[in-house]
């Protein structure tokens, strides 16, 4: 997923993970049958009359399912003044509808043994319930209701915006690496909406009004702007029938595609420092690169994915071996890149210097690594290892129906089509050492670079008091 609002800390965790998957046909040893695409569980697709796309991936291992509704809207659809509105609306989706009291949605899911939540990213807003496989209709009935019948109450909105402000303080303001990442994005992107944090700028959250949220809901929450994904122990025909029953009657909406500001070419390296209370410095570097959606050469994003793995695809990859162990210039160092964003993104590097090393030394070491991939072809053995890991990952991912559904939902929602979940494999398999060298040479150049450095400020944390409470005393505020 797009980590646009979370710090990268220790790189790969949660970044490449979500999409570094997929089996390849090329390997030096025999693959288990389950790893080949022919035997991958099939995905069934149907589009209802009102435009709702329904995807079903049966997986009979356990009597459970995940039901997910993905809306084509997120922070990258927003504009100045209302940043954060997608995420606030996501919170409001739990606050009641024409037929559901506030919180009743969650209460019903809980009483059915369900787990539920929602998440907002730059390119999507998604809602899910994980349930025993006989409870699918509970999910559909509730999700259909809040797709078109949300009741947005002014008092409730005011209160929830306060909750979101607390969330922002927790996630961003009180985390030095996170605040550095936020400022880094706002610097790297001049015009692209990816410059805005998913949670919104504090000033915009102050100004956000009920009308803004209502309008956002009307504009984007409709069956023809959503994808319903179900994975687990289900029968596709039954799922389609239930979807028709509950979502079928919903009215479609005229959806105007978002007007998205394009990022102009960057004309030279950018560099900022971010002062925050912290103990250790932190380095972020990002190069403007294409994503699948707008690649000039179709293979380029896949070559970039493979490049990220060459540098940081595990403990045997170059950064771990050479920066953390070998030269010991980094306490941690990583890369991240996602080929599957709606708009062109960044190829990111991040790291913390090792003891006795500083940010310039770490940056120089990372630049030297970049230079090396530009000058020398990647060793075929390294590529082979990455392919093997991808193949294995494709098997391991089947341990989670949630994850399988999420892949489909994300690909469909960013406009690439869910079918890419299977084809992705071959695309990566086809990447050559020359292509990796080519994308490194073309894109990892200073004119495309933004650097942010966390400049630690004193914490000055000191203990003020520690005292016993008298036995039986209450800790009431007087």
């Amino acid at each position: 997923m797009q980590p646009r609002s979370t710090p990268l800390r220790l790189s790969k965790a949660g970044l490449a993970g979500i999409f570094l998957i997929a089996p390849l046909a090329v390997s030096s040893w025999t693959l288990p049958a389950q790893a080949s695409t022919e035997n991958a569980p099939k995905v069934f697709e149907r589009t209802l009359g009102n435009g709702l796309k329904v995807l079903v991936k049966p997986d009979r291992r356990a009597p459970i399912l995940t039901s997910q509704v993905w809306y084509k809207v997120g922070a990258s659809y927003e504009y100045g003044g209302i940043t954060g509105v997608s995420h606030v609306l996501e919170h409001m989706m739990f606050k009641g509808t024409e037929n559901l009291g506030p919180g009743e949605f969650s209460r019903i899911i809980a009483e059915n043994g369900g787990e539920e939540n929602a998440f907002t990213g730059s390119d999507y807003t998604a809602y899910y319930q994980n349930l025993a496989s006989d409870r699918l209709e509970v999910s559909f009935e509730l999700e259909a209701e809040r797709m078109r019948n949300l009741s947005l109450d002014p008092e409730s909105v005011t209160k929830e915006i306060e909750v979101v402000k607390e969330e922002r303080r927790t996630r961003t303001d009180d985390d030095p690496q996170s605040i550095t990442y936020e400022r880094f994005n706002a610097t790297a992107y001049l015009a692209s909406p990816y410059r805005n944090p998913v949670i919104g700028w504090p000033g915009d959250l102050e100004e956000l009004r009920l009308e803004d949220i209502k309008e956002w809901y009307r504009q984007w929450y409709a069956p023809n702007n959503a994808t319903l994904v179900v994975a687990g122990d289900v029968d596709p025909e039954q799922v389609f029938a239930l979807a028709e029953k509950h979502f079928g009657p919903l009215k479609a909406e005229t959806i105007a595609p978002p007007k998205t500001r394009r990022e102009p070419p960057q004309e030279g390296e950018k560099r900022i420092s971010v002062k925050a209370p912290a103990q250790e410095p932190y380095l972020l570097m990002g190069y403007k690169v294409p994503a699948v959606a707008e690649a000039s050469e179709e293979w380029e994003p896949y070559a970039l994915e493979m490049l990220a793995s060459v540098l940081d695809g595990g403990g045997s990859a170059r950064f771990a071996r050479e920066l953390v162990r070998g030269t010991q210039v980094a306490s941690s160092a990583g890369t991240s890149y996602s080929a599957f964003s709606r708009l062109p993104g960044l190829f990111l590097f991040d790291g913390v210097p090792a003891k006795g090393k500083d940010i310039p030394a770490l940056e120089a070491a990372i630049r030297a690594q970049i230079e090396r991939v530009q000058k020398e072809l990647v060793d075929p053995e390294e590529l082979e290892r990455i392919r093997t890991q991808l193949i294995a990952g494709k098997v391991y991912e089947k341990d989670s129906v949630f994850y399988q559904a999420m892949q489909l939902g994300q690909l469909e929602t960013v406009g690439l089509g869910w079918e890419l979940a299977d084809r992705y494999v071959e695309k990566l398999a086809a990447v050559t050492p020359e292509q990796i060298q080519a994308v490194a040479t073309k894109y990892l150049i200073p004119d495309r670079l933004t650097v942010a450095v966390l400049d630690p400020q004193p914490l000055d944390g000191k203990q003020v008091a520690r005292a016993p409470l008298p036995a039986g005393a209450r800790d009431d505020v007087r």
């Binding site: 609002s5 969650s106 990213g121 607390e166 071996r321 003891k355 098997v395 003020v464």
Partner: protein, 457 residues
């Protein structure tokens, strides 16, 4: 998981959703296939728990040792450093070689220590070359780690950086302070990573001695889930831990003392929010009150959006994004803990709401309606807990390590169903003491002075 924002919220009052088919709310039969656990011992006395999972061509192995940070003695951080060092060198393999061995075959190897246990895990395909390499690597790091000085020095320096970064996070600062306040002299008080001072003092000899003492058959549990038959699993377990010395189990950990009085610690921190944590010794694994406390806590602060704490703190008042309570059951009683974060100037109010919610729950217990809803959630959601190999291996490790009955999963639903409101009220009254809680706040200068009775300034 990698989601950008996890959210939601709920409120209890509101119009009824009468059109929602009532039948849907009726629980399906509780009859649910639970994993069939097989168990045996290796020649040197290690216990093995195995579940055959033939659906996917993969295997998870987790070796669990009674060698968590509670066994650090006078050297906090020892268990954790030992665990980290296992993957940095073994036999004639250096760290690069170990990483290459695993990643060349698409397998993974992880090791870590928490308070009670040290665990070393692999995940591999069943493809013979992959599994053989992964198992040989696991065997090597368990039985013959080298603990090279250079690697120790590198990990030490990086651990020290990690400890300094911990000080950047108000929540981590609060968590560490709370464990100190709750556990005092008990080994559970220390953070598994140790302190700057103790990590600086660790030597290669310390690690070797720790390994020699705790990496034994008698002290090991092997959990296996995957596409294997019993004979293969037996061979696997014997191969992985069979060459460890038989050894013996360490003495039980010391008892955890109840807190004699409440205490409040306020740490000034340059943050926009104040983190409030309160805690006390809670319960152990296998505790006679386990299900009553577990179910009660589920209602109080363990069920996310529908919990009482979430209702009172977030939904009614908008005071915090996150608020929760939990019991962390350990070999000895682990903590009962409640927490939230809120804007500095609201810290006292939010703490008050959290404490009032706890007091009311301890005094009144759950309503019948709350109890019924929580039972439906836990029993109806049970299939989700055992759906994946990852879930099952986690349960095997806990069941095996803490000596829980092998029918723990089979009987989970009936045990939850058997708890009534009076039992919860009684268990909370005996075990949770709102007037004797350790309270830690970590937050900004903007917060009003804490005005706990009799305390401060």
């Amino acid at each position: 998981m990698c989601v950008d924002y996890l959210d939601s919220g709920t409120e209890r009052k509101g119009r009824g959703l009468t059109w929602l088919a009532v039948g849907l709310l009726v629980l399906a039969s509780a009859a649910q296939a639970t994993p069939q656990i097989q168990t045996w011992q290796t020649g040197n006395g290690a216990r093995v728990l195995f579940v055959a999972a033939p659906e996917l061509p993969m295997v998870d192995v987790r070796v669990v040792l009674d060698a968590g940070s509670a066994r650090d003695g006078t050297k906090p951080g020892l268990a954790s450093m030992s665990a980290s060092m296992l993957t940095q060198g073994a036999r004639d393999w250096d760290a690069d070689t170990i990483a290459l061995r695993m990643e060349d075959v698409g397998a993974s190897l992880t090791s870590s220590a928490d308070r009670d246990l040290l665990n070393v895990s692999i995940r591999s395909l069943t493809q013979p070359k992959a599994l053989d390499t992964a198992l040989e690597t696991l065997t090597g790091v368990l039985t013959s780690p080298t603990f090279e000085s250079d690697d120790l020095e590198r990990l030490r320096q990086n651990t020290l950086i990690g400890l300094r970064q911990d000080q950047e996070s108000p929540r981590t600062v609060a968590q560490k302070a709370l464990y100190q306040a709750v556990f005092g002299d008990h080994p559970y008080a220390s953070h598994p990573t140790g302190t700057e001072e103790s990590v600086r003092a660790l030597t290669r000899e310390d690690l070797a001695a720790f390994h020699q003492q705790y990496f034994t058959g008698a002290n090991a549990l092997v959990a296996i889930v995957g596409d294997l038959d019993r004979a293969s699993a037996e061979g696997l377990a014997e191969r992985v831990v069979g060459s460890l010395p038989a050894g013996e189990s360490p003495a039980p950990l010391p008892e955890v003392a109840e807190l004699a009085a409440g205490a409040l610690e306020r740490i000034v921190f340059p943050s926009t929010q104040t983190t409030v944590l309160v805690g006390q010794p809670g319960m152990r694994r296998g505790d006679p009150d386990y299900f009553a406390l577990y179910l009660g806590n589920h209602i109080l602060g363990g069920s996310g959006f529908v919990s009482l704490l979430m209702q009172e703190v977030r939904e009614k008042r908008g005071l915090s994004y996150s608020t929760y309570s939990y019991f962390l059951p350990l070999a000895q009683p682990g903590p009962f803990l409640m927490g939230l974060q809120t804007r500095n100037d609201q810290a006292d109010q939010a703490r008050q709401v959290m404490m009032d919610t706890l007091r009311r729950f301890v005094t009144e217990g759950p309503s019948e309606k709350e109890l019924a809803a929580a039972k439906k959630n836990l029993t109806g959601g049970f299939p989700l807990r055992i759906a994946s190999n990852s879930d099952i291996i986690g349960y095997l490790a806990v069941i095996g390590f803490y000596g829980l009955p092998l029918d723990y999963l089979d009987r989970f639903i009936e045990r939850i169903e058997a708890v009534d409101a009076a039992q919860i009220r009684d268990a909370f009254a005996r075990r949770v003491h709102p007037d004797r809680l350790a309270i830690v706040t970590v937050g900004g200068d903007g917060a009003p002075q804490v005005s706990a009775a009799g305390v401060i300034p």
